[in-house]
């Protein structure tokens, strides 16, 4: 039995539920945004001093053992405490439980923080041997004004330092006038890697590579603006897929979406690793079976030997 935790308002969770149903998987789904259908989580010690968790509410009656979990927490779409407080309390309770469940979790939230700080995560990826862009993080207008990437002829892009949604922009002469605002908020400046965007989804031991083609400096902006973005299957150089799997596992994750820029020379430069990828967005663009791979992996985890020793009942 698989437990899927997410939000009915999300783009991935409803599709995953549908695909699990189509695949004939046994699963339960918890919708964190269904605040009118509350969930209760109880921890109790079994006779041997081990913790046992029971979830009741929504479709759960606290009796069915879970052998694999997919979690993609709801994102509060408001700052209204009437919404954020109960949602936050539920997610805290779920996260505390997820620390102690014995079945595999895709992905453990406690291991999924590194992309909160993009430059910190870039350092982790550099230490793992990936090529990274020449990067300046600063709140200093003077430092940003004189930043010159090693390849001096390249354009400079800028973006946010955290995982708050920001779209990449090119630092044009006109935009340089805005550097005076930097003391208000640190910003990431990077060499713009010429070439194509590449997204590699890692799911367990597998990877699926997607090339993205758009006229915009950030293909996501083009997609938001309903401009043409093309996605197509890509082949990775020898060893890169395995390194993506190792990097994902090295961060304590099972699945990830890793963004690269691929130079015309074939040099792959990593930009970031997303622990909660928008699988469906890339599947829609490329037609690649990304969600099918996720469903197959969850079903495989749930069927793995040893899964009978579950300490989570739903």
């Amino acid at each position: 039995m698989i437990l899927v935790i997410g939000s009915g308002r999300d783009k991935v969770f409803p599709v995953l539920v549908e695909r699990l149903r189509e695949a004939g998987a046994q699963f339960r789904a918890l919708d964190e945004d269904a605040l009118d259908r509350p969930i209760d989580i109880v921890a109790e010690e079994d006779g041997a001093g081990h913790l046992l968790f029971r979830i009741t509410g929504q479709d759960c009656d606290g009796r069915v053992p879970i052998r694999a979990i997919f979690v993609r927490h709801a994102v509060a779409r408001t700052l209204d405490p009437a919404v954020t407080e109960p949602l936050g309390a539920l997610q805290v309770a779920l996260n505390l439980m997820l620390l102690q469940v014995r079945c595999p979790v895709v992905n453990p939230p406690a291991h999924a923080f590194s992309n909160y700080s993009k430059v910190y995560q870039l350092g982790l990826l550099a230490e793992m041997g990936f090529e990274v862009p020449d990067t300046l993080l600063t709140n200093c207008p003077q430092a940003a004004a004189v930043f010159k990437p090693n390849c001096g002829s390249r354009e400079i892009i800028f973006k946010g330092a955290s995982n708050m949604m920001t779209l990449v922009q090119i630092l044009t002469d006109a935009r340089r006038a805005r550097l005076v605002h930097l003391p208000n908020s640190p910003t990431v400046f990077q060499e713009r890697i010429p070439g194509e965007d590449l997204r590699v989804h890692v799911i367990g031991e597998e990877w699926i590579a997607t090339r993205l083609v758009s006229e915009d400096a950030d293909y996501r902006r083009a997609a938001f603006n309903d401009e043409r973005v093309r996605g197509e299957a890509a082949i990775l150089p020898d060893g890169l897929g395995e390194r993506c799997v190792a990097a994902t596992r090295g961060m304590g994750l099972v699945a990830s979406g890793i963004d690269f820029r691929v130079e015309p020379s074939g040099r792959h430069v990593v930009l970031e690793l997303n622990p909660f990828p928008q699988f469906t967005f890339y599947e829609r663009l490329s037609g690649q079976p990304i969600m099918a791979a996720l469903v197959a992996h969850l079903m495989q985890l749930a069927a793995a030997p040893g899964g009978a020793d579950s300490n989570l009942l739903v």
Partner: protein, 234 residues
Amino acid sequence: MFLLIGEPEDTTIASTRRAMVALGHPTLHLSEAQLYGTPFELHRNGPRVEGTLFPVAAQPLPLAEVSGVLLRVRRAWWPEDGFDLPDASFVFHETLAAWIAVLKALKVPTVNDFGLGWWLGDPSYPEALRQDLARHLKLRAPPSRAGAAGIEEWLVAGRLVLGPSGNAAPTALAGEALRDWQRQTGIHFARVDLASDGDAVLAVDPFPGMPPGPAGPADRVGDALARLLVGAAQ
């Protein structure tokens, strides 16, 4: 140069600063608000990182000249007035994420070198530390304190373990297993609550407070942390 980051009234900052001065090591003290208001640049070029802090009223400090960090950030900072709530929230996260990158880029002894869960106020972070410590010490981590006959609070500062009334450190906290946990988690200064019969870890507070004054443990803790920072930096 050793960076001490936290409020001046923080007993750990004050006592460690006194000990650092006594040991003859220069320190730069910044409050949380001063840290986030400090101009900086961090340049990453492949695996190489360099940068500089430009503290107000102090000389520019290249990151390569930072020898250690005592981190006592209360996580109480919020952008000054002038932003509406969504903008303030954005500035808060951008600033926090930037300083995490700067502090994590310092490959120097840091007390405590918190995981991102702590920085983000994730309530499961101390719980994960508790369970991890229980595993290291081969003790239980019960779901609540309810069944415990009694609780003993221990202050751990590097190799110093202080009990509630000067008791000797319990066996569980005296061995190499605690050192392994400290190295693995980056948490060198913590309050550890054990069941009084010594068989369970009931809580781990990675940001313990200390009472001020000569009768408290502050001076011994400050001395232990200063020696830890200096010793590890050498």
